[in-house]
């Protein structure tokens, strides 16, 4: 997705010689007694599309507002391009923000909204006009330049807000739940547009969202937050395939969590989880002590369903179909095991629905490979 011109993968976070654009050093933010951000360290690199993801109240918006200058850290240092920005007021920062409510000025037309920031920096008239036209073209809003914000649709307003925040060519663009007000279809289209614009302008984007799909779609790296702390910062595929905790596994996508006791088994880890059933085999990305309580996270799409017992796999469980959720492209089967545990398994509907193999109450076998499940310390 993010590739530079040489075709090499874009991964400055793996390159020790790269200097980060933004650095959080031991940043803490308190509102009275409430700790919104707790001793946080984070590097964000130039040209990244960085997503802050977490439930509401996890501190992601506070983190963004500190970058914009609307909040100051209680302790710690935030650097932008090597410079401590604590003393710089919002109007002097080379950072612009796209607000959740869009915050378009209702008394100005779209052209003047986009020109607003340029007028403040006293840009020459012809240069400013060219820049506004360029922004209108970029966001495909040329035809609506003379309209007032309330005379265009929600999606168009979102684009005007983006154009206005990009007009000053900031070093860093902050996006606060930018697509929250759009419906699902428009949201998807706009996500791809955002990515195109981010790549064509080469601006660093930091996006705040509570929508994990959105974060996965647009971001080069995702930071999963909880209670003012970073839980995991990684590329979307790493976050999805090798979450570092049950919290991340559970927050990102659909997952089955099976709790038990860990036992080392060569390269992999065995998990004893219930009496009378063989241990489950999975991989672990950090060492887990023998006998420690642990949980296996297994994605529903990695579980196969069959009517015959598979012979080539060790992770095999029997149960009966409790529920089927038909979602068009895929179906999710809720399978109840003998001990009452319900496991979700997904099957892509490559055939027409009339030819479905399993139905309610059918006895089925669930199976997955030794590397499909991740064993995590609890």
């Amino acid at each position: 997705m993010n590739q530079d011109t040489s075709g090499k993968e874009f991964a400055p976070w793996n390159d020790a010689s790269e200097k980060p654009l933004i650095t959080f050093k031991n940043v803490t933010k308190k509102f009275g007694e409430f700790v919104a951000i707790s001793d946080l360290n984070l590097d964000i690199y130039a040209r990244e599309f960085f997503a802050l993801l977490g439930p509401s109240g996890c501190g992601k918006t506070t983190l963004m507002r500190m970058l914009a200058g609307f909040e100051a850290p209680t302790s710690g240092v935030i650097e932008l391009a090597g410079q401590d920005i604590a003393a710089i007021p919002p109007n002097k920062r080379e950072v612009n923000m796209m607000f959740q409510s869009y915050a378009l000025f209702p008394h100005l037309n779209i052209w003047d909204n986009i020109a607003f920031g340029l007028r403040r920096e006293k840009m020459p008239k012809d240069q400013m006009e060219a820049r506004v036209e360029e922004m209108l073209r970029l966001t495909k809003m040329e035809k609506f330049a003379r309209r007032k914000p309330h005379q265009v649709s929600g999606g168009q307003r979102q684009r005007v807000a983006l154009a206005r925040s990009l007009a000053k060519a900031p070093k860093l663009l902050l996006l606060d739940e930018p697509l929250g007000a759009l419906d699902a279809k428009l949201r998807q289209d706009t996500q791809f547009e955002l990515m195109d614009i981010q790549e064509s302008t080469g601006t660093t984007f930091v996006i705040v969202t509570h929508d994990q799909e959105e974060a996965m779609t647009v971001a080069s790296r995702v930071a999963v937050m909880d209670h003012g702390k970073l839980v995991q910062v990684d590329t979307p595929d790493v976050i999805y395939e090798t979450p570092n905790s049950v919290y991340v596994a559970d927050f990102i996508g659909d997952v089955n969590i099976i709790e038990g006791t860990a036992e080392a088994n060569g390269d992999s880890v065995a998990l004893t989880w219930t009496e009378g059933q063989p241990a489950l085999i999975g991989s672990a990305n950090q060492p887990i002590a023998k006998g420690a309580s642990a949980a296996m996270a297994i994605r529903p799409e990695k579980i196969a369903i069959s009517s015959e017992k598979p012979t080539d796999r060790t992770n095999v469980l029997q149960g009966k179909v409790l529920d089927i959720a038909y979602l068009g492209n895929i179906s999710t089967y809720h399978v109840q095991l003998d001990n009452g545990t319900v496991i979700k398994a997904q099957i892509a509907n490559t055939r027409r629905i009339a030819r479905r193999n399993f139905t309610w109450e059918d006895p089925v076998w669930l199976s997955w490979t030794d590397t499909a499940g991740i064993v995590l310390a609890v």
């Binding site: 609307f70 109007n91 923000m97 000025f105 403040r120 914000p149 309330h150 206005r164």
Partner: protein, 267 residues
Amino acid sequence: MRRFSWFNATSLTIGFAFLYLPMLILVIYSFNESKLVTVWAGFSTKWYGELFRNEAFLDAAYVTLRVAIFSSLLATVLGTMAAYVLVRAGRFPGRTLFSGMIYAPLVMPEVITGLSLLLLFISLGLDRGVLTIVLAHTTFSMCFVSVVVSARLASFDQSLEEAALDLGCTPFEAFRLVTLPVIAPAVISGWLLAFTLSLDDLVIASFTSGPSATTLPIKIWSSIRLGVSPEINALSTILIAIVATGVISASLISKRAAMQRDLDSKT
């Protein structure tokens, strides 16, 4: 209540008659030919002519207009500032006290406001005249302005100001270029309200005016004690027209602004 029944029609008629019959009679008699106020002798506009030749009334009208203009402008500035602080400054010690105190003059008996201002001016050694009436009118009409403006500010999306700061405005520029234009309808209707209140006021003006400055309501009041003249009817009719225009435009402006806000918030 969907049908317009006889009962509804009657209530409406009685209600409006109660409110407007006195004024209607005054307006009708202002066009009376006769010198006797209560005897109708045919249509004429001569009392309006007489009125404009009456120096004392014209002087009083000039004083009233000056007082209304200056006090309403001053009240608009102070009332808007007060509203801005109360809505925006967040929690500061004494905030509740302040917001309660700003509304107190709304319910305070005018006699008391007038008397206390009189005492203040005397102790300051201020000669009573146009200046003291302006100050007194500013005092009570700024609360009305601040009520109207703070209602608008409360529904104002604060991220608009943050966006202005973000795009390079100083806090004052953000207020001037974004906040003020957006709340302008409320400020204007507050100003119109202050203007009409000042035009109307008798009680506070009579406490704070001096021999050098008499406002129109005081003039009317004192000449009525010598007997109602048709001139007074004509003058009152003009005042009713001015006040009605002011109040109606204030409410139209705020209604239009509310409609505009609905449009803005519509997705």
